[in-house]
Protein backbone atom coordinates (compact mmCIF):
# COMPACT_ATOMS: atom_id res chain seq x y z
CA UNK A 1 0.00 0.00 0.00
CA UNK A 2 1.29 3.35 -0.96
CA UNK A 3 1.46 6.21 1.53
CA UNK A 4 0.78 8.82 -1.13
CA UNK A 5 -2.56 10.61 -0.72
CA UNK A 6 -5.06 8.96 -3.04
CA UNK A 7 -6.17 10.89 -6.10
CA UNK A 8 -9.69 11.59 -7.28
CA UNK A 9 -10.13 11.08 -10.96
CA UNK A 10 -12.68 12.81 -13.21
CA UNK A 11 -13.70 11.21 -16.48
CA UNK A 12 -15.62 13.82 -18.43
CA UNK A 13 -15.51 14.87 -22.06
CA UNK A 14 -16.42 18.49 -21.39
CA UNK A 15 -13.26 20.57 -20.93
CA UNK A 16 -15.03 23.28 -18.94
CA UNK A 17 -16.34 20.80 -16.42
CA UNK A 18 -12.82 19.41 -16.12
CA UNK A 19 -11.47 22.89 -15.48
CA UNK A 20 -14.10 23.51 -12.80
CA UNK A 21 -13.30 20.20 -11.20
CA UNK A 22 -9.63 21.02 -11.02
CA UNK A 23 -10.30 24.28 -9.16
CA UNK A 24 -12.87 22.69 -6.86
CA UNK A 25 -10.57 19.85 -5.84
CA UNK A 26 -7.68 22.23 -5.39
CA UNK A 27 -9.84 24.26 -3.00
CA UNK A 28 -10.67 21.09 -1.08
CA UNK A 29 -7.04 19.98 -0.97
CA UNK A 30 -7.73 16.76 -2.85
CA UNK A 31 -5.23 15.69 -5.52
CA UNK A 32 -7.04 15.24 -8.83
CA UNK A 33 -6.45 14.05 -12.33
CA UNK A 34 -8.88 14.06 -15.25
CA UNK A 35 -9.46 12.19 -18.48
CA UNK A 36 -11.64 13.05 -21.46
CA UNK A 37 -12.70 9.49 -22.14
CA UNK A 38 -13.08 6.11 -20.49
CA UNK A 39 -10.44 4.72 -22.84
CA UNK A 40 -7.87 7.31 -21.76
CA UNK A 41 -8.64 6.50 -18.15
CA UNK A 42 -8.17 2.76 -18.61
CA UNK A 43 -4.78 3.40 -20.12
CA UNK A 44 -3.48 5.64 -17.38
CA UNK A 45 -5.24 5.22 -14.05
CA UNK A 46 -3.10 2.48 -12.52
CA UNK A 47 -0.12 4.77 -12.10
CA UNK A 48 -2.18 7.46 -10.38
CA UNK A 49 -3.19 5.85 -7.07
CA UNK A 50 -6.84 6.60 -7.80
CA UNK A 51 -9.10 6.43 -4.74
CA UNK A 52 -12.34 7.77 -6.17
CA UNK A 53 -13.72 8.17 -9.68
CA UNK A 54 -16.12 10.90 -10.75
CA UNK A 55 -17.65 9.57 -13.92
CA UNK A 56 -19.79 11.17 -16.61
CA UNK A 57 -22.50 8.78 -17.75
CA UNK A 58 -22.49 10.00 -21.32
CA UNK A 59 -19.03 9.71 -22.83
CA UNK A 60 -17.80 9.31 -26.36
CA UNK A 61 -16.83 5.68 -26.90
CA UNK A 62 -17.21 3.53 -23.82
CA UNK A 63 -20.05 5.02 -21.75
CA UNK A 64 -19.79 5.76 -18.05
CA UNK A 65 -22.02 2.88 -17.04
CA UNK A 66 -20.13 0.50 -19.34
CA UNK A 67 -16.86 1.55 -17.74
CA UNK A 68 -18.34 1.07 -14.28
CA UNK A 69 -19.56 -2.40 -15.22
CA UNK A 70 -16.20 -3.27 -16.66
CA UNK A 71 -14.27 -2.09 -13.61
CA UNK A 72 -16.52 -4.08 -11.31
CA UNK A 73 -16.26 -7.18 -13.45
CA UNK A 74 -12.48 -6.88 -13.22
CA UNK A 75 -12.80 -6.53 -9.46
CA UNK A 76 -11.66 -2.92 -9.44
CA UNK A 77 -13.59 -1.60 -6.47
CA UNK A 78 -12.66 2.09 -6.57
CA UNK A 79 -15.74 4.07 -5.42
CA UNK A 80 -17.51 5.93 -8.19
CA UNK A 81 -19.62 9.12 -8.20
CA UNK A 82 -21.69 9.32 -11.37
CA UNK A 83 -22.56 12.53 -13.19
CA UNK A 84 -25.61 12.60 -15.44
CA UNK A 85 -27.20 15.29 -17.55
CA UNK A 86 -30.66 14.10 -16.65
CA UNK A 87 -31.76 12.63 -13.39
CA UNK A 88 -33.17 9.35 -14.55
CA UNK A 89 -34.14 6.49 -12.32
CA UNK A 90 -32.85 3.72 -14.56
CA UNK A 91 -29.31 5.07 -14.52
CA UNK A 92 -29.44 5.64 -10.79
CA UNK A 93 -30.61 2.09 -10.11
CA UNK A 94 -27.92 0.62 -12.35
CA UNK A 95 -25.27 2.80 -10.77
CA UNK A 96 -26.27 1.87 -7.25
CA UNK A 97 -26.26 -1.79 -8.16
CA UNK A 98 -22.63 -1.36 -9.13
CA UNK A 99 -21.90 0.32 -5.84
CA UNK A 100 -21.72 3.94 -6.94
CA UNK A 101 -21.42 6.41 -4.06
CA UNK A 102 -24.01 8.72 -5.57
CA UNK A 103 -25.50 9.96 -8.82
CA UNK A 104 -25.29 13.72 -9.26
CA UNK A 105 -27.27 15.64 -11.83
CA UNK A 106 -24.80 17.89 -13.62
CA UNK A 107 -26.93 20.99 -13.72
CA UNK A 108 -28.19 20.68 -10.17
CA UNK A 109 -25.39 20.00 -7.72
CA UNK A 110 -23.47 22.30 -5.48
CA UNK A 111 -19.71 22.38 -5.31
CA UNK A 112 -19.85 21.33 -1.64
CA UNK A 113 -21.99 18.31 -2.48
CA UNK A 114 -19.48 17.14 -5.05
CA UNK A 115 -16.58 17.59 -2.62
CA UNK A 116 -18.52 15.79 0.11
CA UNK A 117 -19.23 12.82 -2.16
CA UNK A 118 -15.63 12.68 -3.31
CA UNK A 119 -14.44 12.64 0.32
CA UNK A 120 -16.94 9.90 1.05
CA UNK A 121 -15.62 7.94 -1.90
CA UNK A 122 -12.00 8.35 -0.84
CA UNK A 123 -12.89 7.26 2.69
CA UNK A 124 -14.72 4.25 1.40
CA UNK A 125 -11.67 3.39 -0.68
CA UNK A 126 -9.51 3.49 2.47
CA UNK A 127 -11.75 0.98 4.20
CA UNK A 128 -11.92 -1.19 1.11
CA UNK A 129 -8.12 -1.20 0.99
CA UNK A 130 -7.86 -1.97 4.71
CA UNK A 131 -10.32 -4.78 4.32
CA UNK A 132 -8.49 -6.18 1.32
CA UNK A 133 -5.11 -6.12 3.05
CA UNK A 134 -6.51 -7.81 6.15
CA UNK A 135 -8.15 -10.37 3.96
CA UNK A 136 -4.90 -10.98 2.14
CA UNK A 137 -3.10 -11.49 5.47
CA UNK A 138 -5.75 -13.77 6.98
CA UNK A 139 -6.17 -16.12 4.02
CA UNK A 140 -2.80 -17.91 4.33
CA UNK A 141 -3.28 -18.30 8.09
CA UNK A 142 -6.67 -19.98 7.64
CA UNK A 143 -5.06 -22.23 5.04
CA UNK A 144 -2.76 -23.71 7.71
CA UNK A 145 -5.73 -24.96 9.77
CA UNK A 146 -6.69 -28.65 9.62
CA UNK A 147 -10.27 -29.47 8.54
CA UNK A 148 -11.11 -30.30 12.17
CA UNK A 149 -9.72 -26.93 13.30
CA UNK A 150 -11.77 -25.13 10.66
CA UNK A 151 -14.81 -26.97 11.95
CA UNK A 152 -14.06 -25.84 15.50
CA UNK A 153 -13.35 -22.28 14.33
CA UNK A 154 -16.67 -22.01 12.55
CA UNK A 155 -18.55 -23.32 15.57
CA UNK A 156 -16.77 -20.68 17.67
CA UNK A 157 -17.53 -17.95 15.16
CA UNK A 158 -21.18 -19.00 15.31
CA UNK A 159 -21.08 -18.23 19.02
CA UNK A 160 -21.32 -21.72 20.53
CA UNK A 161 -20.19 -22.48 24.08
CA UNK A 162 -17.19 -24.84 24.54
CA UNK A 163 -19.25 -27.58 26.14
CA UNK A 164 -21.70 -27.52 23.25
CA UNK A 165 -18.94 -27.60 20.62
CA UNK A 166 -17.31 -30.59 22.30
CA UNK A 167 -20.65 -32.33 22.53
CA UNK A 168 -21.43 -31.59 18.92
CA UNK A 169 -18.12 -32.94 17.69
CA UNK A 170 -18.15 -35.90 20.11
CA UNK A 171 -14.82 -34.94 21.70
CA UNK A 172 -13.75 -34.14 25.22
CA UNK A 173 -13.39 -30.52 26.35
CA UNK A 174 -9.73 -31.26 26.89
CA UNK A 175 -9.26 -32.18 23.23
CA UNK A 176 -11.26 -29.08 22.26
CA UNK A 177 -8.92 -26.92 24.35
CA UNK A 178 -5.96 -28.29 22.37
CA UNK A 179 -7.73 -27.49 19.07
CA UNK A 180 -8.50 -23.98 20.31
CA UNK A 181 -4.91 -23.36 21.36
CA UNK A 182 -3.66 -24.54 17.96
CA UNK A 183 -6.13 -22.30 16.15
CA UNK A 184 -5.08 -19.26 18.21
CA UNK A 185 -1.44 -19.97 17.56
CA UNK A 186 -1.88 -20.50 13.80
CA UNK A 187 -4.12 -17.44 13.43
CA UNK A 188 -1.62 -15.38 15.47
CA UNK A 189 -4.03 -13.90 17.96
CA UNK A 190 -5.04 -14.22 21.60
CA UNK A 191 -8.66 -13.03 21.34
CA UNK A 192 -11.82 -14.69 20.13
CA UNK A 193 -12.94 -11.31 18.81
CA UNK A 194 -10.07 -11.29 16.25
CA UNK A 195 -10.87 -14.86 15.29
CA UNK A 196 -14.49 -14.01 14.58
CA UNK A 197 -13.69 -10.88 12.57
CA UNK A 198 -10.93 -12.54 10.56
CA UNK A 199 -12.96 -15.59 9.76
CA UNK A 200 -15.78 -13.37 8.48
CA UNK A 201 -13.32 -11.31 6.41
CA UNK A 202 -11.84 -14.55 5.12
CA UNK A 203 -15.26 -15.82 4.07
CA UNK A 204 -16.46 -12.54 2.57
CA UNK A 205 -15.99 -11.82 -1.11
CA UNK A 206 -13.47 -9.23 -2.16
CA UNK A 207 -16.02 -6.40 -2.19
CA UNK A 208 -16.62 -6.98 1.51
CA UNK A 209 -19.96 -8.72 1.37
CA UNK A 210 -20.09 -10.85 4.50
CA UNK A 211 -21.57 -14.32 4.50
CA UNK A 212 -24.65 -15.01 6.59
CA UNK A 213 -23.60 -16.45 9.90
CA UNK A 214 -25.48 -19.65 10.55
Amino acid sequence: MSNVKPTVCLIEDDADLRANFKVSMKGAGIPQVSYASAEDFLEGYEQKNVGCIVLDVRLPGLSGLELLERLRSENVLIPVVLLTANADVQTAVKAMRHGAVDVLTKSAFKEETLIERVREGLQRWESVKKFQSERAAVGPRVATLTPREVEVLDLMVAGNKNRKIAEHLGISTKTLDIHRANIMRKMQTKTVADLVRWRLINKADSSGVMPMVS
Partner: protein, 391 residues
Protein backbone atom coordinates in the same frame (compact mmCIF):
# COMPACT_ATOMS: atom_id res chain seq x y z
CA UNK B 1 -57.49 8.39 -32.18
CA UNK B 2 -56.62 4.80 -33.02
CA UNK B 3 -57.73 2.06 -35.30
CA UNK B 4 -59.94 0.62 -32.59
CA UNK B 5 -62.26 3.60 -32.83
CA UNK B 6 -62.48 3.14 -36.51
CA UNK B 7 -63.40 -0.49 -36.15
CA UNK B 8 -65.90 0.18 -33.42
CA UNK B 9 -67.69 2.71 -35.50
CA UNK B 10 -67.70 0.39 -38.48
CA UNK B 11 -66.03 2.89 -40.72
CA UNK B 12 -64.11 1.61 -43.65
CA UNK B 13 -63.10 2.74 -47.08
CA UNK B 14 -66.18 1.10 -48.61
CA UNK B 15 -68.59 2.85 -46.28
CA UNK B 16 -66.77 6.04 -47.06
CA UNK B 17 -67.28 5.58 -50.75
CA UNK B 18 -71.04 5.41 -50.34
CA UNK B 19 -70.92 8.50 -48.16
CA UNK B 20 -68.46 10.94 -49.65
CA UNK B 21 -67.31 13.94 -47.69
CA UNK B 22 -69.12 17.17 -48.42
CA UNK B 23 -67.01 18.38 -51.30
CA UNK B 24 -67.87 20.04 -54.54
CA UNK B 25 -68.19 17.64 -57.44
CA UNK B 26 -64.96 18.67 -59.08
CA UNK B 27 -62.84 18.17 -55.99
CA UNK B 28 -60.44 15.33 -56.46
CA UNK B 29 -59.31 14.08 -53.12
CA UNK B 30 -55.96 12.45 -53.04
CA UNK B 31 -56.61 9.17 -51.36
CA UNK B 32 -56.90 5.56 -52.25
CA UNK B 33 -60.66 5.32 -52.43
CA UNK B 34 -61.24 8.44 -54.47
CA UNK B 35 -58.39 7.78 -56.84
CA UNK B 36 -59.94 4.46 -57.69
CA UNK B 37 -63.41 5.83 -58.22
CA UNK B 38 -62.39 8.98 -60.04
CA UNK B 39 -59.91 9.50 -62.81
CA UNK B 40 -57.06 11.86 -62.10
CA UNK B 41 -57.52 15.47 -63.03
CA UNK B 42 -54.10 16.82 -62.24
CA UNK B 43 -50.63 15.62 -61.64
CA UNK B 44 -48.27 13.52 -63.64
CA UNK B 45 -49.28 10.79 -65.95
CA UNK B 46 -48.18 8.15 -63.53
CA UNK B 47 -51.00 8.35 -61.07
CA UNK B 48 -53.77 10.28 -59.48
CA UNK B 49 -52.02 10.28 -56.16
CA UNK B 50 -49.28 12.61 -57.27
CA UNK B 51 -50.13 16.02 -55.96
CA UNK B 52 -49.32 18.80 -58.32
CA UNK B 53 -47.60 21.56 -56.46
CA UNK B 54 -45.93 20.55 -53.29
CA UNK B 55 -44.09 17.51 -54.29
CA UNK B 56 -42.50 19.02 -57.32
CA UNK B 57 -41.26 21.80 -55.11
CA UNK B 58 -40.08 19.36 -52.52
CA UNK B 59 -38.20 17.52 -55.18
CA UNK B 60 -36.39 20.66 -56.20
CA UNK B 61 -35.77 22.18 -52.81
CA UNK B 62 -35.45 18.98 -50.86
CA UNK B 63 -37.59 20.67 -48.27
CA UNK B 64 -36.63 20.91 -44.68
CA UNK B 65 -39.20 18.58 -43.29
CA UNK B 66 -39.20 15.70 -45.69
CA UNK B 67 -37.80 12.26 -45.74
CA UNK B 68 -37.43 10.37 -48.99
CA UNK B 69 -37.42 6.61 -49.09
CA UNK B 70 -37.47 4.12 -51.92
CA UNK B 71 -40.48 1.82 -52.10
CA UNK B 72 -38.23 -0.83 -50.57
CA UNK B 73 -37.81 1.42 -47.57
CA UNK B 74 -34.23 2.58 -48.13
CA UNK B 75 -33.67 6.13 -46.96
CA UNK B 76 -32.70 8.27 -49.93
CA UNK B 77 -32.35 11.62 -48.28
CA UNK B 78 -33.39 13.67 -45.30
CA UNK B 79 -34.49 17.27 -45.26
CA UNK B 80 -32.60 19.53 -42.88
CA UNK B 81 -35.15 19.64 -40.09
CA UNK B 82 -35.95 15.96 -40.42
CA UNK B 83 -32.27 15.22 -40.24
CA UNK B 84 -31.84 17.22 -37.09
CA UNK B 85 -34.90 15.61 -35.62
CA UNK B 86 -33.81 12.08 -36.25
CA UNK B 87 -30.09 11.87 -36.49
CA UNK B 88 -26.82 13.28 -35.39
CA UNK B 89 -25.02 12.79 -38.69
CA UNK B 90 -25.44 11.50 -42.20
CA UNK B 91 -23.81 8.25 -41.12
CA UNK B 92 -26.94 7.49 -39.15
CA UNK B 93 -29.15 7.21 -42.18
CA UNK B 94 -27.07 6.74 -45.32
CA UNK B 95 -27.64 3.29 -46.70
CA UNK B 96 -30.09 2.50 -43.91
CA UNK B 97 -33.60 1.26 -44.19
CA UNK B 98 -36.43 3.21 -42.70
CA UNK B 99 -37.60 -0.12 -41.32
CA UNK B 100 -34.64 -0.05 -38.94
CA UNK B 101 -36.01 3.12 -37.48
CA UNK B 102 -39.38 1.69 -36.73
CA UNK B 103 -40.08 0.29 -33.32
CA UNK B 104 -40.08 -3.52 -33.59
CA UNK B 105 -43.83 -3.91 -33.31
CA UNK B 106 -44.30 -1.33 -36.05
CA UNK B 107 -41.97 -2.87 -38.61
CA UNK B 108 -44.58 -5.00 -40.31
CA UNK B 109 -47.18 -2.25 -40.36
CA UNK B 110 -44.56 0.09 -41.81
CA UNK B 111 -43.68 -2.39 -44.52
CA UNK B 112 -47.34 -2.77 -45.41
CA UNK B 113 -47.72 0.96 -45.27
CA UNK B 114 -44.87 1.62 -47.71
CA UNK B 115 -46.47 -0.88 -50.06
CA UNK B 116 -49.82 0.86 -49.73
CA UNK B 117 -48.30 4.24 -50.42
CA UNK B 118 -46.76 2.88 -53.58
CA UNK B 119 -50.13 1.43 -54.52
CA UNK B 120 -51.82 4.77 -54.15
CA UNK B 121 -52.74 5.29 -50.53
CA UNK B 122 -51.81 8.84 -49.86
CA UNK B 123 -51.70 9.17 -46.20
CA UNK B 124 -51.15 7.40 -42.97
CA UNK B 125 -49.39 7.80 -39.70
CA UNK B 126 -46.44 5.66 -38.78
CA UNK B 127 -44.32 5.41 -35.69
CA UNK B 128 -40.59 5.71 -35.75
CA UNK B 129 -37.92 5.29 -33.17
CA UNK B 130 -35.41 8.05 -32.87
CA UNK B 131 -32.13 6.37 -33.63
CA UNK B 132 -30.07 8.93 -31.74
CA UNK B 133 -31.73 8.01 -28.49
CA UNK B 134 -32.26 4.31 -28.24
CA UNK B 135 -33.47 4.56 -24.68
CA UNK B 136 -36.70 6.18 -25.66
CA UNK B 137 -39.11 5.50 -28.48
CA UNK B 138 -40.84 8.47 -29.92
CA UNK B 139 -43.98 8.28 -31.91
CA UNK B 140 -43.84 10.40 -34.99
CA UNK B 141 -46.71 11.06 -37.28
CA UNK B 142 -45.75 10.99 -40.89
CA UNK B 143 -47.88 11.83 -43.83
CA UNK B 144 -46.50 10.18 -46.89
CA UNK B 145 -47.01 10.10 -50.57
CA UNK B 146 -45.66 8.27 -53.56
CA UNK B 147 -43.85 10.38 -56.11
CA UNK B 148 -42.24 9.14 -59.30
CA UNK B 149 -38.92 10.86 -59.59
CA UNK B 150 -38.33 11.87 -63.21
CA UNK B 151 -34.67 12.72 -62.65
CA UNK B 152 -33.61 9.50 -61.04
CA UNK B 153 -36.11 7.43 -62.93
CA UNK B 154 -37.06 5.76 -59.67
CA UNK B 155 -40.02 6.20 -57.47
CA UNK B 156 -39.66 7.79 -54.10
CA UNK B 157 -41.93 7.88 -51.17
CA UNK B 158 -41.91 11.22 -49.55
CA UNK B 159 -42.86 11.56 -46.00
CA UNK B 160 -43.87 14.87 -44.63
CA UNK B 161 -42.81 14.88 -41.05
CA UNK B 162 -43.95 17.95 -39.36
CA UNK B 163 -46.32 18.77 -36.59
CA UNK B 164 -46.10 20.35 -33.19
CA UNK B 165 -45.56 17.02 -31.51
CA UNK B 166 -42.65 16.20 -33.76
CA UNK B 167 -40.81 19.27 -32.66
CA UNK B 168 -40.51 17.85 -29.18
CA UNK B 169 -37.75 15.26 -29.62
CA UNK B 170 -35.90 17.83 -31.61
CA UNK B 171 -36.26 20.32 -28.79
CA UNK B 172 -35.02 17.63 -26.47
CA UNK B 173 -31.77 17.39 -28.35
CA UNK B 174 -31.30 21.10 -28.02
CA UNK B 175 -32.20 20.98 -24.36
CA UNK B 176 -29.49 18.41 -23.88
CA UNK B 177 -26.99 20.48 -25.84
CA UNK B 178 -27.83 23.45 -23.71
CA UNK B 179 -27.58 21.61 -20.41
CA UNK B 180 -23.87 20.92 -20.79
CA UNK B 181 -22.66 24.52 -20.99
CA UNK B 182 -25.19 25.54 -18.35
CA UNK B 183 -23.90 22.92 -15.96
CA UNK B 184 -20.34 24.10 -16.46
CA UNK B 185 -21.49 27.70 -16.20
CA UNK B 186 -23.13 27.03 -12.84
CA UNK B 187 -20.07 25.24 -11.57
CA UNK B 188 -17.77 28.08 -12.60
CA UNK B 189 -20.05 30.68 -11.05
CA UNK B 190 -20.10 28.75 -7.77
CA UNK B 191 -16.34 28.59 -7.78
CA UNK B 192 -16.15 32.35 -8.31
CA UNK B 193 -18.49 32.91 -5.39
CA UNK B 194 -16.44 30.68 -3.13
CA UNK B 195 -13.11 32.21 -4.12
CA UNK B 196 -14.48 35.71 -3.75
CA UNK B 197 -15.76 34.92 -0.26
CA UNK B 198 -12.36 33.52 0.64
CA UNK B 199 -10.75 36.76 -0.51
CA UNK B 200 -9.10 35.09 -3.46
CA UNK B 201 -10.65 37.19 -6.20
CA UNK B 202 -7.19 38.18 -7.39
CA UNK B 203 -6.17 34.56 -7.99
CA UNK B 204 -5.62 32.92 -11.34
CA UNK B 205 -8.30 30.37 -10.52
CA UNK B 206 -10.83 33.14 -10.01
CA UNK B 207 -9.90 34.91 -13.22
CA UNK B 208 -10.05 31.74 -15.26
CA UNK B 209 -13.34 30.67 -13.72
CA UNK B 210 -14.83 34.05 -14.44
CA UNK B 211 -13.61 33.79 -18.02
CA UNK B 212 -15.44 30.47 -18.24
CA UNK B 213 -18.60 32.08 -16.90
CA UNK B 214 -18.50 34.66 -19.66
CA UNK B 215 -17.57 32.24 -22.41
CA UNK B 216 -20.17 29.67 -21.38
CA UNK B 217 -22.88 32.31 -21.18
CA UNK B 218 -22.03 33.29 -24.73
CA UNK B 219 -22.04 29.68 -25.79
CA UNK B 220 -25.47 29.13 -24.27
CA UNK B 221 -26.86 32.22 -25.93
CA UNK B 222 -25.40 31.06 -29.21
CA UNK B 223 -27.09 27.68 -28.87
CA UNK B 224 -30.42 29.36 -28.22
CA UNK B 225 -29.89 31.51 -31.31
CA UNK B 226 -29.21 28.40 -33.31
CA UNK B 227 -32.38 26.78 -32.02
CA UNK B 228 -34.36 29.85 -32.94
CA UNK B 229 -32.97 30.12 -36.40
CA UNK B 230 -33.46 26.45 -37.14
CA UNK B 231 -37.04 26.67 -36.01
CA UNK B 232 -37.63 29.73 -38.10
CA UNK B 233 -39.03 28.94 -41.50
CA UNK B 234 -36.75 29.34 -44.45
CA UNK B 235 -38.61 30.79 -47.35
CA UNK B 236 -37.08 29.34 -50.49
CA UNK B 237 -38.55 30.87 -53.59
CA UNK B 238 -41.84 32.55 -54.17
CA UNK B 239 -43.83 31.26 -57.13
CA UNK B 240 -47.36 32.07 -58.23
CA UNK B 241 -49.43 29.65 -56.22
CA UNK B 242 -53.04 28.69 -56.36
CA UNK B 243 -54.09 28.71 -52.74
CA UNK B 244 -57.18 26.60 -53.48
CA UNK B 245 -54.98 23.81 -54.80
CA UNK B 246 -52.79 24.07 -51.76
CA UNK B 247 -55.76 23.88 -49.42
CA UNK B 248 -57.20 20.87 -51.25
CA UNK B 249 -53.87 19.14 -51.09
CA UNK B 250 -53.42 19.86 -47.40
CA UNK B 251 -56.86 18.53 -46.71
CA UNK B 252 -56.21 15.44 -48.75
CA UNK B 253 -53.29 14.54 -46.52
CA UNK B 254 -55.37 14.75 -43.42
CA UNK B 255 -58.62 13.48 -44.84
CA UNK B 256 -58.23 9.97 -43.49
CA UNK B 257 -57.33 11.29 -40.09
CA UNK B 258 -60.44 13.48 -40.13
CA UNK B 259 -62.58 10.52 -41.03
CA UNK B 260 -61.16 8.56 -38.11
CA UNK B 261 -61.96 11.42 -35.83
CA UNK B 262 -65.47 11.68 -37.28
CA UNK B 263 -64.92 15.20 -38.44
CA UNK B 264 -67.21 16.54 -41.12
CA UNK B 265 -65.36 18.77 -43.53
CA UNK B 266 -67.02 21.64 -45.36
CA UNK B 267 -65.15 23.35 -48.15
CA UNK B 268 -66.08 26.83 -49.24
CA UNK B 269 -63.46 27.70 -51.80
CA UNK B 270 -63.70 30.90 -53.81
CA UNK B 271 -64.32 30.09 -57.45
CA UNK B 272 -61.85 32.48 -58.95
CA UNK B 273 -58.88 33.10 -56.75
CA UNK B 274 -55.88 35.02 -58.07
CA UNK B 275 -52.54 33.26 -57.58
CA UNK B 276 -50.32 34.60 -54.81
CA UNK B 277 -46.52 34.59 -54.72
CA UNK B 278 -45.73 31.93 -52.16
CA UNK B 279 -43.35 29.27 -51.03
CA UNK B 280 -45.83 26.45 -51.33
CA UNK B 281 -43.88 24.05 -49.10
CA UNK B 282 -43.82 26.47 -46.20
CA UNK B 283 -47.36 27.64 -46.75
CA UNK B 284 -48.56 24.07 -46.75
CA UNK B 285 -47.07 23.67 -43.28
CA UNK B 286 -49.29 26.48 -42.10
CA UNK B 287 -52.38 24.96 -43.65
CA UNK B 288 -51.64 21.52 -42.25
CA UNK B 289 -50.92 22.95 -38.87
CA UNK B 290 -54.18 24.89 -38.78
CA UNK B 291 -56.11 21.83 -39.94
CA UNK B 292 -54.51 19.64 -37.29
CA UNK B 293 -55.12 22.24 -34.63
CA UNK B 294 -58.75 22.50 -35.64
CA UNK B 295 -59.20 18.75 -35.54
CA UNK B 296 -57.55 18.46 -32.14
CA UNK B 297 -59.69 21.29 -30.81
CA UNK B 298 -62.74 19.13 -31.47
CA UNK B 299 -61.54 16.05 -29.59
CA UNK B 300 -63.68 16.91 -26.62
CA UNK B 301 -66.98 17.56 -28.39
CA UNK B 302 -69.30 14.69 -29.42
CA UNK B 303 -68.51 13.23 -32.87
CA UNK B 304 -71.84 14.44 -34.28
CA UNK B 305 -70.88 18.02 -33.55
CA UNK B 306 -67.45 18.02 -35.14
CA UNK B 307 -67.41 20.22 -38.19
CA UNK B 308 -64.40 21.78 -39.80
CA UNK B 309 -64.97 24.49 -42.35
CA UNK B 310 -62.23 25.38 -44.73
CA UNK B 311 -62.75 28.44 -46.84
CA UNK B 312 -60.84 30.73 -49.15
CA UNK B 313 -61.77 34.10 -50.55
CA UNK B 314 -60.38 37.26 -51.98
CA UNK B 315 -60.58 40.19 -49.62
CA UNK B 316 -59.48 43.37 -51.32
CA UNK B 317 -55.85 42.90 -52.31
CA UNK B 318 -55.46 39.80 -50.15
CA UNK B 319 -56.28 36.15 -50.43
CA UNK B 320 -57.65 34.78 -47.18
CA UNK B 321 -57.76 31.24 -45.89
CA UNK B 322 -60.00 30.48 -42.92
CA UNK B 323 -60.11 27.30 -40.88
CA UNK B 324 -63.12 27.08 -38.62
CA UNK B 325 -63.73 24.42 -35.99
CA UNK B 326 -66.66 23.57 -33.74
CA UNK B 327 -64.49 22.76 -30.75
CA UNK B 328 -64.54 24.17 -27.27
CA UNK B 329 -63.10 27.45 -28.40
CA UNK B 330 -60.25 29.44 -26.96
CA UNK B 331 -60.60 32.05 -24.28
CA UNK B 332 -60.20 35.64 -25.41
CA UNK B 333 -57.18 36.02 -23.14
CA UNK B 334 -55.35 33.12 -24.68
CA UNK B 335 -56.18 34.08 -28.24
CA UNK B 336 -54.00 37.15 -27.91
CA UNK B 337 -51.02 35.06 -26.87
CA UNK B 338 -51.58 32.00 -28.97
CA UNK B 339 -49.17 32.99 -31.73
CA UNK B 340 -46.41 33.70 -29.25
CA UNK B 341 -43.66 31.11 -29.09
CA UNK B 342 -43.90 28.60 -26.25
CA UNK B 343 -47.56 29.37 -25.52
CA UNK B 344 -49.98 26.56 -26.03
CA UNK B 345 -53.56 25.80 -25.17
CA UNK B 346 -52.94 22.12 -25.70
CA UNK B 347 -51.78 19.93 -22.84
CA UNK B 348 -48.26 18.89 -23.70
CA UNK B 349 -48.17 21.37 -26.56
CA UNK B 350 -44.86 23.09 -27.15
CA UNK B 351 -46.29 26.31 -28.46
CA UNK B 352 -44.13 26.18 -31.54
CA UNK B 353 -46.54 25.33 -34.34
CA UNK B 354 -48.57 28.51 -34.34
CA UNK B 355 -45.64 30.83 -33.80
CA UNK B 356 -43.87 29.13 -36.67
CA UNK B 357 -47.02 29.47 -38.78
CA UNK B 358 -47.08 33.15 -38.00
CA UNK B 359 -43.46 33.57 -39.04
CA UNK B 360 -44.16 31.81 -42.32
CA UNK B 361 -47.19 33.95 -43.10
CA UNK B 362 -45.34 37.11 -42.12
CA UNK B 363 -42.44 36.13 -44.35
CA UNK B 364 -44.98 36.22 -47.17
CA UNK B 365 -46.03 39.71 -46.15
CA UNK B 366 -49.28 38.38 -44.77
CA UNK B 367 -51.01 38.15 -41.47
CA UNK B 368 -52.51 35.47 -39.26
CA UNK B 369 -55.06 35.82 -36.51
CA UNK B 370 -57.68 33.93 -34.60
CA UNK B 371 -60.94 34.68 -32.93
CA UNK B 372 -63.54 32.74 -30.97
CA UNK B 373 -66.78 32.07 -32.80
CA UNK B 374 -70.08 33.04 -31.29
CA UNK B 375 -71.61 29.92 -29.82
CA UNK B 376 -68.87 27.38 -30.30
CA UNK B 377 -65.40 26.91 -31.70
CA UNK B 378 -62.90 29.30 -33.17
CA UNK B 379 -61.59 30.43 -36.50
CA UNK B 380 -58.00 30.85 -37.62
CA UNK B 381 -57.46 33.07 -40.62
CA UNK B 382 -54.42 33.99 -42.59
CA UNK B 383 -54.17 36.45 -45.43
CA UNK B 384 -51.60 36.79 -48.16
CA UNK B 385 -51.11 39.83 -50.39
CA UNK B 386 -51.83 39.06 -54.03
CA UNK B 387 -49.10 41.42 -55.10
CA UNK B 388 -46.59 39.78 -52.79
CA UNK B 389 -44.40 41.00 -49.98
CA UNK B 390 -43.29 44.56 -49.69
CA UNK B 391 -46.15 46.37 -51.36
Amino acid sequence: MGMSDKKRMGISDSSHKSEPPPLAADETLVDSSSSISQPPRRGSAQGAHVPPIIWSQLASSRGETVLGVSPAGMIEFLGGATGRMFTASAKDWQGKSLLDWAVPEDRLPLKAYLKNVAAGAALACISLRHPFDKAEDKRVEMTSIYVPDPIRGTALIWCLAWSATEVQPWARVFAHELKQPLAALMGSAQICQRLEKAGKSASKDFRESLERVVRLSEKSAELIDRLQSSLAPKIQQLAPTNVNDLVREGLSWLEKDFRQRHIRVEMQLAEKLPPVPADAVQLQRVIIHLLKNASEAMDEVPPAERTLTLSTRQEGSDVQVAVMDSGKGISAGLIEQIFQPLRSSKPGGMGIGLSMSRSIVQEHGGNIWARPLPGRGSVFIFSLPISGKGT
